[in-house]
């Protein structure tokens, strides 16, 4: 009975839309649908073109909102809504729409990226670099260069190419340098580009990314990645911040990682004291520290400018130092960085 049901294409942001999005992508996964169907689902449900760019596997899929394949050789716009399909962000699912994803868009991104990840794992095989034993070897500084050279050969890592090591809570990964690691799927220069409003998928693990190096220098890249991992946040209310951090974006902040965990830092104590006052304190301070202006921080926190300003004043009172001047702001950023280091000790 054609036309007798509400069309899938007519889905909008009603109360049930998010549930339908979940059911749709679960259905695709259950029926073992392919990448084209998943990207099509994202495009149709979001009502804008969607694309999957997987640089490491050289897969490019782009579909328009009518569900038709619409290849486009141009690069993705980094202002689009995106989500990493794999932790190293070498594969990203994009909705070609600029701005912060709303709840339905965030749900589409998360579910489509999850479904695409399952397909990539199932059909394309894991990239050679994901063999855990070989990866452990090639980033191991104590392994002899000869052993690491053999590992590079087995992983088909060419000596003339550049690679990055990534440190995840579960262990190391290696991926091609041209794959741009991003924050919750959004490629960007690092912590400063973190977008507080971008919902990070709970499925996206914390990660630190090392510099691009030749295969035999991967132990150094991994050492840097492990430091960067300590600056990566859980992305939760207790630990706000970017889930993916590149070591080269840390600059001098990286030196803080050398501090002994027992070092007494009064500003850190003050920050913990302020954080204990309520869950809004950390999120407010984080938003303020990361944003380019008070107004931008208010927008990112989805608060009115004046209410946000009230919160800042209250937070300053709790901290015991002003944060609206450059020096106070630097103290705040350092305290936040130190707090993250304490939460994520070196292992």
């Amino acid at each position: 009975m054609k036309d007798l049901a509400v069309r899938l294409a007519a889905l909008d942001a009603d109360a049930g839309a998010a549930l339908r999005v979940i059911a749709y992508f679960d259905g695709l996964a259950e029926n073992k649908a392919g990448l084209q169907a998943i990207v099509r689902g994202a495009a149709v449900l979001a009502g804008c073109p969607a694309r999957l760019d997987d640089r490491s596997r050289r897969v490019r899929v782009r579909v328009d909102p009518a569900g038709r394949a619409a290849p486009d050789p141009s690069a993705a716009d980094e202002r689009w809504m995106g989500m990493a399909v794999v932790p190293d962000a070498s594969a990203i699912l994009w909705l070609e729409r600029i701005g912060e994803p709303g709840p339905v868009e965030a749900m589409i991104l998360e579910r489509a990226a999850g479904a695409a990840r399952a397909v990539l794992d199932r059909t394309r095989g894991r990239a050679p670099a994901e063999d855990p034993a070989l990866v452990e070897l090639i980033v191991d500084a104590s392994a002899s260069p000869e052993v690491r050279r053999q590992a590079a050969t087995s992983m088909r890592l060419s000596e003339s190419d550049r690679f990055r090591a990534a440190a995840l809570p579960t262990g190391p990964q290696v991926f091609p340098a041209e794959a741009t690691p991003g924050i919750a799927g959004r490629p960007g220069p690092g912590p400063a580009a973190a977008s507080p409003g971008l919902p990070a998928s709970p499925a996206t693990p914390r990660a630190g990314i090392g510099p691009a190096v030749a295969p035999l220098d991967l132990p150094a890249s991994y050492a840097a990645a492990r430091i960067a991992l300590r600056f990566a946040a859980d992305g939760t209310a207790e630990d706000p911040g970017p889930k993916v951090v590149r070591h080269e974006d840390l600059g001098g902040l990286a030196l803080l990682a050398d501090l002994p965990d027992s070092a007494d830092v009064p500003d850190l104590r003050a920050l913990e004291h302020a954080a204990a006052a309520g869950p809004w304190v950390l999120s407010t301070l984080h938003a303020f520290a990361e944003a380019s202006s008070l107004r931008a921080a208010a927008t990112a926190s989805r608060l009115h400018h004046s209410s946000f300003q009230d919160r800042i004043a209250q937070a300053e009172h709790l901290l015991g130092w002003p944060i609206r001047d450059p020096h106070g702001r630097l103290r705040l950023q350092l305290a936040l960085a130190l707090r993250r280091l304490r939460r994520h000790p070196s292992t």
Partner: protein
């Protein structure tokens, strides 16, 4: 039949769409559900503005006589305002299981064809079962067809370029119109587009049994629709081919038929059989069985790959018919 046949799987995208909309589209139908569906929430009808397409079509409604003694019927007529060639006509009978819907259901796809092939779209408002049992609905459709053919000059189309089209129950009505026009010296027809047509009141094919309780318009819903139309006579020995075209013993000398159907729907086997019997009678038919398609899949999930493919196949057939 004591064994249960496993159903063919749904196409992945279509299965996902069904899952996502499961609460909105029960596979079966009964009197209570019918009343709820008629009250309108599930019907996505195009507005007159939609039909005009920004002036591409002139939209009018004509009230024309029913068959002898029957009430007048309304025809929805959409005429291209700037055709690029001689006009033809698609005479449309809407779907809805014989019990649901109105003349605007399914017309949007006809307008796509009309834009491409310079067609006047005429869609008939026939009376529905169970309030009007057989032969009321097909009589209304036939009366509208006769009037349309007789008024070809007034409507501005070339009477040698007229086709029938309909989906689901409308596909069954279109098939019945083709039989009746052949038998009663009715208008010449260039073709019949039977979109997953509802053809067989016996409702006892393997596909009907396999898909019971699954997909859309299952065996139970089908029994409900046919019983509304035929009452006690459903499935018995005395059903007219103008009610259930699968009952026709002679399928020779019919206009070329296009038939499509999903592999995962009640109508699969009766539609495949109808195409086969047309060939066996020396006729012309094109048959598409879309793997994993449920009933009306292209309407429910128009963006799915299989839906695009199915709709493109219809257009390619029209292209051969009108431009071949």
């Amino acid at each position: 039949m004591t064994t249960t046949l496993p159903p063919p799987p749904f196409d992945p995208e279509l299965g996902a769409a069904l899952t996502a909309l499961a609460d909105l589209i029960p596979p079966s139908l009964d009197a209570d559900l019918l009343a709820a569906m008629r009250s309108g929430a599930a019907l996505a009808l195009p507005t007159e503005e939609d039909l005009r397409r920004g002036g591409t079509f002139q939209v009018e409604e004509r009230v024309v006589p029913g068959l002898s003694g029957d009430p007048d019927i309304t025809l929805l007529i959409c005429t291209p305002t700037a055709p690029t060639g001689a006009l033809g006509c698609v005479y449309h009978t809407h779907g809805g299981g014989m019990v649901l819907g109105d003349r605007r259901i399914g017309v949007v796809e006809m307008l796509d064809w009309a834009e491409q092939y310079n067609l006047v779209v005429v869609s008939v408002e026939y009376r529905l079962a169970p309030e009007t049992p057989h032969p009321g609905p097909i009589d209304d459709c036939y009366a509208g067809l006769l009037w349309t053919a007789e008024h070809a000059d007034e409507l501005g189309f070339d009477r040698s370029r007229m086709i029938l089209a309909g989906g689901s129950a409308g596909g069954g009505l279109a098939a019945a119109l083709a039989l009746r026009a052949r038998d009663q010296n009715g208008p010449d027809l260039l073709g019949q587009m039977l979109i997953y047509p509802m053809l067989d009141d016996r409702n006892d094919t393997p596909s009907a049994r396999q898909m019971a309780g699954l997909g859309i318009w299952d065996r139970n819903a089908n029994e409900f629709g046919w019983t509304a139309l035929l009452g006690e006579a459903r499935g018995g020995p005395d059903v007219s081919p103008y009610a259930a075209p699968a009952r026709a013993t002679d399928l020779a000398d019919l206009p070329p038929a296009f038939i499509d159907v999903g592999s995962a729907e009640t109508f699969r086997d009766e539609d495949v059989a109808y195409a086969s019997r047309i060939w066996q009678a020396g006729g012309r038919a094109e048959l598409h069985v879309w793997p994993g398609g449920f009933h009306g899949f292209d309407g429910l999930a128009p963006t799915a790959q299989l839906s695009h493919d199915a709709r493109e196949a219809r257009v390619r057939w029209l292209n051969r018919l009108f431009n071949g």
